[in-house]
Amino acid sequence: MSARNITIEYNDKVVRQFMIASIIWGAVGMLVGVLIASQLNFFQLNFNTSFLTYGRLRPLHTNAVIFALVGNMMFAGVYYSTQRLVKARLASDFLSSLHFWGWQAIILSAAITLPLGLTRGKEYAELIWPINIAVALIWVVFAVNFFWTLARRHERSLYVAIWFYIATIITIAILYIVNHLSIPTGMLHSYGLFAGVQDGLVQWWYGHNAVAFFLTTPILGIMYYFLPKAANRPVYSYKLSVIHFWSLVFVYIWAGPHHLLNTALPNWLQMLGMTFSLMLWAPSWGGMLNGLFTLRGAWSKLRTDPVIKFFAAGVTFYGMATFEGPLLSIKSVNALGHYTDWIIGHVHAGALGWNGFMAAGMFYFLVPKLWNKPLYSQALANLHFWLGLFGILIYVAAMWTSGITQGLMLNSTTEGGTLLTYPNFLDTLNTIRPLMLLRVVGGGLYFVGWLLMAYNIVKSLKGAQAVNGTMEVVVEDDVPEEERPLGPIVTVLNPPVIFSTVGTIFTCVWLFGGPFLQIVGAIGTALCVILAWVHFESKGKRWAAWYERLLVSAAPFTVLTLVAVLIGGLVQIIPGIVSHQAANVEDRLQIPYTPLELAGRDIYVAEGCYNCHSQMIRTLVPDVMRYGDYSRLGESIYDRPYQWGSRRTGPDLARIGGKYNDTWHYNHTLRPRDISVGSNMPNYPWLNENATDVAALESKINVQRMLGVPYDEMTAEEIQASVDAQANEIVERLKVDGIYVAPDKQIIALIAYLQQLGNYQEVTPAMASR
C-alpha cells in the first residue's frame, strides 16, 4: 500500500465573501423588517409611495432574510466545513466565484424588482421568472461545485454535516423548480403552471420545505461541524444522527398542507399535513438533542465564550420552534392561531433565534480563523448576544399574546353563539396595537445587536491579513475493501432499504386503498415493521456495516436521499394534478375573469394585497359568521396565483364583491381611514393616477387559455372594447356620487376585480360530465 503526503490550501476566500455578504444583506433585511413592522403601527410610514408600501416591502424583507442572510451564511458555512470534512479544496475557484457573484446579482435584482411591484404573488417565491431562471442556474453551479468537491475528497467517509448538505442541495433544486414553473406573458410577468387549490398545495409544499431544507437542514449541518469544534467535545450520538437525519428528510416533505388547514384543501391532504407535522416533532428534536448534549462537559464555556452562547441559544430556539410547529399543526389549535401574529412569532423564533444566532455564532467563530486575528471585542459580542436574546423574547412574547388575543376575539361569539362579539374587524386590530408596537422594540433590539456584530467584525478585520487554511493530507492509492463505494445493486438490495421501501408501499396502500386494500395495507405494514424489528435485533451489525459502506458512497447516498424526499411530494401532488380539472369540482365553479377584472387582479397581486388579506373563508363557524359561506375549492380553481393568503392583518376578501358599492371601494382604496376609522391600511393614491396595462392583456389571456381557463379567443380590439365597456359602467356609477375618474385608471380595474370576488356558478351535471 503506497501513500504520500500532500498539502491542501482551502479556498477560504469565497467563505469570507459569503460571510460579509450575509452580514450586510442581513442588516438590510432587518432594517426593512423594522420599517414594515412600524408601518403596521403608523400608516404614514408608507409615505403614500408605491415602492415604499408594506405590500411591496414585506416580500423584500422575507426574501432578504431567507435568501440573502441565511443563504449567504449557509454557503459560507457549507464551503468552510465541507472542505475540511472531506479534506479537499473546493473543486473550482471559477465556480465558487460565479456562485458568489451570481447570488449577489440575484439578491440585487430582487431588491430592485420587488419594490417595483414585479412579483409572482406567492410567498418566498415572489421573484419574477427571469430571476427564477438565474436562481436555478446558480443553484446548479453550487451543486456542481459541491459534488465535484466530494468526488475529489480525500476523506472517504461522509460526516453527518455532509448528509444534511446533500439533502439541502437536491431538495431545494426540486422544490424551487416545480413551484416556479410558469409561462411568461412578457419579459417581467408570468402565470404559474398550477392554479387554485393545486397552486396552494404546491406553494406550501415549497414554502414549508424551504423552511425545512433552506433554513433547517443546512443549518443543522453547520451545527454538526461548528458546535463540536467550538465546544471541543465529541458529538453526542452518531446513532441519533442517523435516525434523525433519515426521519427528518422523509417526514418533512409531507407536512406542507398544514399551512392550509380548515381551508378548501381536500381533507385527506389536511390530515396528512397535520399527522406528519406531529410525527416530525421527535425527528426535529433529535437535532436539538445532539446539539445540546454535545455541549455537556463544555457548559463552563457558556459563561465566557460568545460563540457557545449563540450556539446554545440558537439550538434551544430551534427546539422551541420545532415544538411549536407541530402544536400549530393541530387543526383545532390552527383554527385559533392561523392568520394571526402567532405564526409571525413562530417564524421569527426560527429566523432570529435559530438562523440568526447560528449565523452570529459561526461568524464569531470564523473571524479569528479566516483573518488570523482575535475578535476585536468579546464584550461587544456578549452585548450583541444579550440584546439579541432580549429582542427575540420581547418579539416572540408580543406576537404570541397578539396572535392569541386577536384569534380569541375574532372567534368569540355572544348571545348563545348567534352573534359575533366583535363584528367590526378593526376592534380586534386596535386591541393588538400595543403588541405590534412592542414587536418593533424587540426587532429593533435584535437589529442593533446585529449592527454591533458588524462593527465588531469590521474592527477585527482592520489591519488583519486574510489567511487560507491548509492541511496535510495522506493520500492512499490503494483503497481498502471496506472503503470502496457501494455498487448500484448493493445500494438497493439490502435490509434497511428493502424494509423501508416495502413498508412505505404498504403504508400508502393502507392510507389510500379501498376497503379491501386498506386491510391488506395495514397488515402488510405491521408485518413489515415486525420483520424489520426482528431482523435488526438479530442482524443489526449487518445494518450498521452496510451504513458505514453507504457513507463512503456519495452517489448512492445522494440517490437514496433523493428517493426519501421525493415520496411525500409525489403522493401529495400527483393526485391533484391528475384530478384538478374543473370537471371534478363538486358544487361551485369559478367564473373566469373579464379582461378588466383580470387586469385588476394583477394589480391586486402586484401591490401585494395578499400580504394582509386572505381570500379563504375556512370551514369554521366564526369565519362563516364574519365573512359568509365557506369557500369551496372550485371558487378559485382558475386563480394564478392562488390568493388564499397566510395572514389577516385586514379582513378576508373572498366574498367582498357586492358587499359595498363602487364609491366605498374608491374612497377606501385611496383613503382607507375616511371609512374605516383606525385602519392601518396604506393609502393607494397612485392607483388613481396610473393607467391600467390593457396592452398586456392579450398575451395574458392567451396564456390563461393555453393553461386551460375557458376563455374565448379574443383579439386586442375585442379586449379593449370589453375593458372600455366595463370600466365605463363603473365610471358612471362613481359619477352619480360626484366622483370623476378616467376609465383607464388602475383603481377602476381593481374595483372591477374586487366587486366580482365571491361570484361563482353552480356546477350542473352537464358541466360535471364534460
Binding site: 466545513s81 475540511r84 470534512l85 467517509s157 460526516y159 453527518v160 461541524y225 463540536p228 469544534k229 471541543n232 467535545r233 465529541p234 458529538v235 453526542y236 450520538s237 452518531y238 446513532k239 441519533l240 444522527s241 435516525i243 381533507n267 390530515m271 397535520m274 399527522t275 406531529l278 410525527m279 416533532w281 421527535a282 425527528p283 428534536w285 433529535g286 462537559g297 407541530p326 348571545e415 348563545g416 353563539g417 348567534t418 352573534l419 359575533l420 363584528p423 367590526n424 392510507l511 386498506q518 370551514t619 363557524v621 362563516v624 359568521m625 364574519r626 365557506y630 357586492g658 358587499k659 359595498y660 358599492n661 364609491t663 366605498w664 374612497n667 375616511d674 371609512i675 376609522v677 356620487d737
Partner: protein, 184 residues
C-alpha cells in the same frame, strides 16, 4: 484534539473510530423519552387517520359548519324581540337602547353618516345621507328604517347589517337614530 487544558471528561460510551477534521462522535443509545415521543406521535397519527379517514364516523368539516350555522339561524328567528313601529318608538325613548345603539352606531355607522348623524349635509365627502332631518329616502316609518339597516341598500352603498348585528343590535341602532326625532 488536545484536551490538556481542561478537566478530563467523565468516562463515556464508545466512540466511532472515524474522526472528521478532529470531530469525534459518541455512539450513544437514543434517550427513551425521545423514542416514546416518536412512537406516540406515530401511534396517534395512525389512530387519527383511521378515525377520520376510514371509520366513516365523523362528519365532514363543511357539513359540521352548515349544521351549526342552521342552528344559529333558528336561534335568531326565535328571538322574542318584537320589531314593530310602536315598539321601535318605545325603544327610542329607552336609555339602555339609546346608549348601546349609540355605541354600535359610532363603531359601524359613523364612518359614512358621521358621528353627528348629519352625513352629507355636514360634509359633502360623507357617503351616507343626513339622518336627523325630516327627509327620508327610503321611508320614514321605523319599520322602513329598520329594514334599511337590516337589509341594506346596496346601490347606495349601505351594507346589510342584520347578519352581523342581529335583531337586538339592529333595533338598538334604529332606536338611537329615532331618538333624534319626535315620537308621534
Amino acid at each position: 484534539m488536545s484536551d490538556n487544558d481542561k478537566p478530563t471528561p467523565p468516562v463515556e460510551g464508545s466512540k466511532r473510530k472515524h474522526v472528521y477534521d478532529g470531530i469525534e462522535e459518541f455512539n450513544k443509545r437514543l434517550p427513551n423519552w425521545w423514542l416514546f415521543t416518536l412512537y406516540i406521535t406515530i401511534a396517534f397519527s395512525i389512530g387519527y387517520w383511521f378515525y377520520y379517514a376510514q371509520s366513516g364516523l365523523p362528519e365532514g368539516d363543511g357539513e359540521r359548519v352548515e349544521a351549526e350555522i342552521a342552528r344559529i339561524q333558528t336561534a335568531k328567528l326565535t328571538s322574542d324581540l318584537v320589531i314593530a313601529d310602536a315598539s321601535l318608538w318605545e325603544m327610542s325613548q329607552n336609555e339602555a337602547f339609546i346608549s348601546s345603539g349609540k355605541e354600535t352606531y359610532n363603531s359601524l355607522c359613523a364612518a359614512c353618516h358621521l358621528p353627528s348623524l348629519k352625513g352629507k349635509s355636514e360634509s359633502p365627502a360623507a357617503i351616507g345621507p343626513d339622518l336627523t332631518d325630516d327627509e327620508w329616502v327610503h321611508g320614514s316609518e321605523p319599520l322602513a328604517l329598520y329594514k334599511v339597516v337590516d337589509e341594506g341598500i346596496l346601490a347606495k352603498g349601505m351594507p346589510p347589517w342584520g347578519p352581523t348585528l342581529g335583531v337586538q343590535k339592529t333595533a338598538e341602532v334604529v332606536a338611537y337614530v329615532l331618538s333624534y326625532h319626535e315620537a308621534p
